[in-house]
Symmetry: C2
Subunit: 461 residues, 2 copies
Amino acid sequence: MQTYDLSGGKLCDTLPAALRADILSGAIAPGEKLPSKRRLAEHHGISINTVQNAYEQLIAEGYIESRERSGYYVSDLPTSLSSSALPPVGEEVTEQAPPVWLDLVTNTPDGTRFPFSLWARLMRRVLTEEGEALLAPLPAAGAPALQSAIAEYLRHGRGIAVEPCQVVIGAGTEYLYHLLLQLLGRERVYGLEDPGHSKIARIYALNGVRFRPVPLDEGGVCADAPERLGIEVLHISPNHHFPTGIVTPATRRRALLAWMGQGDRYIIEDDYDSEFRFTGRPIPPLFGMDTADRVIYMNTFSKTIAPSMRISYMVLPKPLLARYRQQLGFYACPVPAFEQYTLARFLREGHFERHLHRMRTFYRTRRDAVIALLQSAPFAARIRIKEADAGLHFLVELKIDRSDGELRSVLEKGGIRVAFLGDYHIEKKEGKTDTHTIVLNYSGVEPERLAEGIRRLCETL
Amino acid sequence: MQTYDLSGGKLCDTLPAALRADILSGAIAPGEKLPSKRRLAEHHGISINTVQNAYEQLIAEGYIESRERSGYYVSDLPTSLSSSALPPVGEEVTEQAPPVWLDLVTNTPDGTRFPFSLWARLMRRVLTEEGEALLAPLPAAGAPALQSAIAEYLRHGRGIAVEPCQVVIGAGTEYLYHLLLQLLGRERVYGLEDPGHSKIARIYALNGVRFRPVPLDEGGVCADAPERLGIEVLHISPNHHFPTGIVTPATRRRALLAWMGQGDRYIIEDDYDSEFRFTGRPIPPLFGMDTADRVIYMNTFSKTIAPSMRISYMVLPKPLLARYRQQLGFYACPVPAFEQYTLARFLREGHFERHLHRMRTFYRTRRDAVIALLQSAPFAARIRIKEADAGLHFLVELKIDRSDGELRSVLEKGGIRVAFLGDYHIEKKEGKTDTHTIVLNYSGVEPERLAEGIRRLCETL
């Protein structure tokens, strides 16, 4: 039995916190039985009442459930549950949202597929071989070994030639967005794809940056929109747009580069899930077409390795690199040396490309299974699958009259969490709220569970 | 012999980069002899010319030196050397600053004192015991185990009672400043101690935040200044001000809290090196005196463990915590789970307090040795040591006529890098530039080297 350190404060606070931590971290798995109240109490030399209260609190919060005459079990949690899902401090939980049983919104990579034991072996080697060098401060842009390994990967894997010194390593793309705002200047007007990642808009808003939603057509960002809207920095994902899945064609790319060339303008190219393309050849990044040295390339290892792996990077064109060093070179690199050295080896020794290859196969199989289930469902005639060639999500167009809101609430009552295309609209337009299109993030969806979800759903509807 | 991966680009770029990386990371130590040109060339199957060019470039950059009839050796580098010290990309190096031989500016903790093998053991245990749980996403504020361990440390070590959930973990204080700007709002007027950490002013400026320098007297921030200057968020280090070393007395603390209580105002308390107090009892943080729930406590492990350890934390008062979760809870915690779990164990098992205890003894001995050397120097009658009770720096007041600028340039010619009190003035005032006071950061100063520096200096003067 796990022993908890309960010395850190009032027992009535620490026991639930310790249990919650273990559930959130996965140390106690969903479905696992918790020790009996008596056993846990004896183990820690505390009263059964204290344990009883802790268990009751966790039931109220939805972490565990009590099964009659059997005991306490860890609930199935959506993998995205984090402290933001907890009730705010000092507020009573008044309304309990139904527990999420099937999450079609969060694209958490399947952690069990990651070659963890190999990774752990690399970590042990780094620990032994690098030793105290791991304590030395790193250059602001990151460990040169990782910069080189990323540059090499980009050359092989994405077909773009960059020098290692152009790679700037950050603790997640969110961190890099902050750096870029400081580098390009907050007085500029930023353009964001609409629909798009609402998180980017949120970060820009929190940082007081002026940004404008830029409309899309079937080729991605409308060619004339950036000029018309007075955009100065355009933030796009032309290789696989989220959530529509659009791949921007070459002519549109050239048009956007032409727009960029006409002034002191920049394009931030977010290549967030280019690794998972199932049909045809990989889409070469816009970065490689840029002759004006003003496209910034960004990518992350959160999706390809693990979300807890807070390593992302951007590739700065050389003129910006000089400015970066001068203005932002004083910032310490936020990623620990240890993770950087481990990842550098993982890349250099070919494990990353092998892992990607396995994951592509795995995701393709899963995507096929999910689509097959949907297409054999009783409601198959009323849906249409779109943009399933790439990435960890696709669109499900619904030929139904129900509004998105109605359908969402029916699904939520059944414990199914979905997102509609409209949820990703930055500019909410009156009367245009019903998109009748679900953005289905399938990477974490067990086909068996989806089959059961479809059965339940058909009963409800 | 170290093997370099030279596949990442043009060889004439990658070999110097690989060598530079090894020197910066400490993998090749100062004073160490490099392989002969012939040997390195053979080892990598490259031409001697390529190696020759690489060595010459590194000599020009000051990383290595050639000793006649002996070979190439790694130069003594200041530990703060990072990519920002490198010439900007695409620019020629026109003027070469003399190499720094004795750095009295950078307070890099002495890495060799850190119990690295113990740390590595903990890392191995975390790897084995946590396993794949290390891949799971963490709550935004950090790993609950680390939050608890920090709360416990604050209770024992700093005498303040906080709940684990109030602790927000970030990748360095710079990261936390960014979070705080978003949390408290960028439209507010921030007040910064003047003199003070110029880095904070730089971050505020880069983020377009209005800030005003707040003057100090012998008790720290002048009691009436925040009100007079229209400050809304006051950023201070009352327990040991950098660089003056002032400890703000209780009456002044009460006055500042009274100012804070009169409006929607906040105090950010930076407790950056409170662990290293040598005389008397530790100074209890302002946080513990706050009854209005508007003091934010900040600290970092960069100074106490290693600068490459990008883990800092802040303690939010509860009303702010609710706002943090609502507004910023979507940010992923930027610190890898692995480092958080390791640090949690390091704290929980008492290693951190033992390490602090050893470091206090070590730094006190070093400080005493440095002061003894200065007081027995030929110029001893013309200096006065001030504020040496705490922290990793003290002041050296100079009774001389030379301007700060003149003295700096004499010292720099001898390879001695110093900072004057005036360097930390945020508001540079005409005619007030000569402070005749050196801020001596001694933590990385070898007494033997200082003795030699004093000899050289006396010859020069």
